[in-house]
Symmetry: C2
Subunit: 348 residues, 2 copies
């Protein structure tokens, strides 16, 4: 398996997030990725490389240019407002809801921060853009590798991406790496691409990005949004719109679901993907389905991830993995590498 | 002038707000109203009474029933989640932006808090609903007084209201008192009602509530939303829609505008109101246009408010005043009572 590791990931290192109404230390930390790298040191699965730079045109095929420009310059603007801001991360505190306008980009920094976000749990830091852009480069490189004939490739990156939409960040995500990979696969010649999101949280950004497209099937297995983040999307009745009608499948499950229950949804997801007959697969690989995850409520055990990986290999598709959530930091390495090892063993 | 003072206002006493990315002490404090009462003690302008209860049907003519139910029960839910929450105010940390759904009300409390809000500067506290409901009662009672023949009446209340929309709070506002007054005046027989918002900040809630109605003209003079809160509404090209096309006038002015500049917009606002020929007027009376306001940037002096009040009286309309913003706390009394005294002197 080709592995593209984000050399800039640690540049994104948030200090505090708003979590259930309080400021708390960030859950999405650099150690998450370091644990995966350490486990890959113990159980090597392929060469680990840095990616080449990503083409801006590919990013702009996924995200609004004005949003990307904002991300790119936001930290400098934040510190220019007040040098003391360098000691704080930027968190949004006002946002446009129903009836407000998004067509006029305000001059005010706080207003743009809120315009382009959907939570106050995703601090924008000095190194956010560097990390996010290099992460998208990992996703693009992984897609290129698969386009070139590799059976599978991994974008080993953080911050994660699947919550980021066309012009908004949130859920610890800024640039949607899974969407970048899917678009890159399409650009590389795949006629149809499926995205399978196994993170505990609904892949709202990925769903939204492809919601009206027939060339990308999006499937997500996740905690029921009535009780679980991101709350405002991810219901079973969201099946796509326009040309994309029928090309989105949500499989929300109640908090507390164990592997037996999860596996049923997973099998349904794989069946839907097989029916779509894609040329390639993107797996948005979150392991916050783990029973030990501090902010999630499924009950998968570490050994279950070997089974998950093997079943993904069973789809028989060229596959790009992107790293998404997982907040039981010390268990991240074992859980992620179990998926990948399960895949490699079954794909052989 | 009939004055209905909110007997429960001090029950809403937020501890902290998110302001430009940091948690800071609240600007919207009980002392604001106490200073107005003290100045009315020095310069009496009429009997000060408590209002009778407000009819739920009137509130539901302005706000979504599910939103009112949320406000009513939110504090108890917040504390039920964790008894330690009693020591904290509830601030939203996730919200639905473009592409998210608002039709499904989540079960999760934090998700509902975010669904029904547009900033993290408006803490929901133990006494928020009691204060907001009694404030709406003041607005309704003031409207009833004017319907009954009084030349003018004042809803002396906080929290303010003009930023609150059909189903969202924000900008220190929960229930839109000016909109409640306007609706009550309509229900009382006024064929057309004008709302004149002189607060420093755009009256986005009031505009949105009446945007498609021809029976209520909304006019707002305010800091340009490109740089000033609430940022996402209040531009000059917002003129109403549907039946309400032509029934909204925004007069955004640059930060730094002095009374001479403000007065030009004010005269244009009064001319537009005269042309609408309403039966009654609601004035959303914020005095954060004051040169000493800590969060606003116009340069009106205290004496200017006497001129403002006199000019409002010059419109010759039965008038309900609702108290909105103003954060130079010690100057609140003089500035607000100057408007009222200017009005009363000219109306005699
Ligand atoms: Zn997740
Ligand atoms: Zn104001």
């Amino acid at each position: 398996m080709q592995i593209y590791a984000n050399p800039r990931h640690a540049a994104h290192d948030g200090r505090q997030e708003m979590f259930r109404g309080k400021l708390v230390p960030c859950h999405e930390v650099p150690a998450r990725l370091e644990h995966v790298l350490a486990e890959l040191g113990r159980r090597p699965l392929g060469e680990i490389q840095a990616p080449p730079p990503v083409a801006r045109a590919l990013l702009e095929a996924v995200h609004a240019p004005r949003y990307l420009r904002f991300l790119e310059t936001a930290w400098d603007e934040w510190v220019a407002l007040d040098p003391a801001n360098a000691a704080l991360d930027a968190l949004p505190s006002v946002w446009p809801v129903r009836g407000f306008r998004a067509d006029v980009e305000p001059d005010n920094f706080a207003a743009r921060l809120g315009l382009y976000s959907f939570d106050a749990g995703t601090p924008l830091t000095a190194g956010t853009w560097a990390a996010a852009e290099a992460g998208a480069a990992c996703a693009a490189a992984a897609a290129t590798s698969v386009t070139g004939g590799a059976r599978a490739a991994l974008a080993l990156t953080r911050p994660p991406g699947h919550h980021a939409g066309h012009d908004f960040f949130g859920g610890y995500c800024f640039v949607n790496n899974a969407a970048v990979a899917a678009q890159a696969l399409r650009d590389g010649g795949a006629r149809r691409v499926a995205v399978l999101d196994v993170d505990y949280h609904h892949g709202n950004g990925t769903q939204s990005l492809f919601y009206e497209r027939a060339d990308v099937l999006t499937v997500s297995i996740h905690g029921d949004p009535r009780t679980e983040y991101p709350f405002y999307l991810g219901h079973a009745d969201e099946t796509g719109a326009g040309h994309g009608l029928g090309c989105n499948l949500n499989l929300p499950l109640p908090a507390g679901t164990d592997f037996a229950g999860w596996r049923q949804a997973f099998d349904a997801a794989l069946a839907r993907i097989a029916a779509f007959a894609p040329d390639a697969l993107v797996v948005a690989l979150g392991v916050d389905t783990y029973e030990g995850d501090p902010i999630s409520r499924f009950r998968l055990a570490s050994a279950d991830y070997l089974t998950v990986g093997a079943a993904i290999a069973g789809a028989g598709l060229p596959t790009v993995f992107t790293l998404e959530g997982g907040y039981a930091v010390a268990a991240m390495g074992v859980n992620v590498v179990n998926v990948l090892e399960g895949f490699e063993t079954a794909a052989r």
